[in-house]
Point group: C2
Chain length 296, copies 2
Amino acid sequence: MIENEQFQTWIDRVDTELVRYFSEKDLTCNPLDRAMEYTLLAGGKRLRPLLTLVVVDAFGGNTEEAIPFTLASELLHTYSLIHDDLPCMDDDDMRRGKPTNHTVFGEAYAILAGDALQSEAFQILVTSQHPILSPDRRLEILKELCLAIGRRGMVAGQVMDLSSEGQAYDLDHLQLLHSRKTGGLFRFCLRLGGHLTQLDDEAMEKLTAYADAIGLLFQVVDDVLDEEGTSENLGKTPGKDKEAAKATFPHLMGLDGAHSFADNLLEQAEQALAGFEKKAVKNLSEIARYIRHRDH
Amino acid sequence: MIENEQFQTWIDRVDTELVRYFSEKDLTCNPLDRAMEYTLLAGGKRLRPLLTLVVVDAFGGNTEEAIPFTLASELLHTYSLIHDDLPCMDDDDMRRGKPTNHTVFGEAYAILAGDALQSEAFQILVTSQHPILSPDRRLEILKELCLAIGRRGMVAGQVMDLSSEGQAYDLDHLQLLHSRKTGGLFRFCLRLGGHLTQLDDEAMEKLTAYADAIGLLFQVVDDVLDEEGTSENLGKTPGKDKEAAKATFPHLMGLDGAHSFADNLLEQAEQALAGFEKKAVKNLSEIARYIRHRDH
């Protein structure tokens, strides 16, 4: 992860809360709890919670009060990973350096674990206490989430990804695919931080522009790593995209082209921050640069 | 369905709105939209929306304003059917008299259709307009839904159902399984009607007791029909429970025992209505009797 002590402290807090969330046991649901916990606690960069916390901190909010809300994005991301890894979808055996959920718990429990993670994410956003969040603003957060993950959001992205295999595509198609599959949740996480600190519309728009740039950047780098990376640093099998004839940025514009495109997106992300105060610019830039230069 | 002209009018309105909900097309999501639409519009009793509308009507609410909210329970029910029918779960080929979702669209799109139906259900409850529903009460509705469908609700019920195959069980276990798998959503639908008409806690408790009785009744009759019914009237393959050595009421208490148990539950449901005004008692009793005596 990024070498930043403050970020690491927040990530540790998120991890602690994720563990606590699963500490309540119910023996009748044991296989479900274990399957949910397994992928959720298998590590992961916790980048989505971090995005929310950096915004909350940068705009004078209380990160500790925001922590419970940040779990939701990690649950949703994990649900999408578990379902995407299934044999009928991307058919992946390794994830976060460990065997994928269905290889350990079987397909039925993997599907149900994903289903329950989606519901639990909503439950967290609906029920977590917050001293200054109004019911109306909470409903706005929920609305933005639904748009980010539903049939015109994250699920649509996965559908486009699956149906693109072996098909012709252009840059617009690829950008739409990834703005849905990855970008929507990034946008949600950054705007969630904005809602929790009652940011005005102008600041929210800047955050959204930054989110869209780093969301796409994340995916361009993901595609590049799938070609250049090793399973050791990735924690998953590289070269899968090419094998499945997936739509990727390196395939569309070459590896060099993809690197230049990533550099441009990093610049766009940093430009979107213009006018924010120093702390916001520093921390959000650091995350954007990490996303550009990460090796896993 | 129940022979009641008013009920049929409401069910027709629900069907019209479901069709309208899917009328907005996006070609990039075509396989997803088609898969979602397929099972959702394949028929079905629309019992869950009906439960909400009967309550709204009986307590002086406006059913037309409630219609959009009722779609959510039908989407959630359909998501659970699509996932439960998958080869790795109950492995069913027929549902609502038609080939199951995955046999038509493949497993990947069936899973994604279920995923998106869950998100869309939340979106409907978060965004549908209503003239008297306060943000706080809307959040209460969402909270009750999360509890009904999550890892201690509907998903937990399916987990208990799968893990009960071939295992010893008692009546308590079977009741808990079904209160989660079916009962929770019934309870949600009835209480949703109560929220939309601003019922007080005492009336809500009566509705909840009625919901718990008919939820369990529904499942006892389902188990009986699985033994006594034909695929023609059921729209799905009978005898599947016995084949899979599932936990069922007839298996636990014999067919006669299951029939008596169902009669008792019908009585309990009707007793729960004591003190409600005439229209509520009449319509809710009619639904309970239909659930007891239905042949599909």
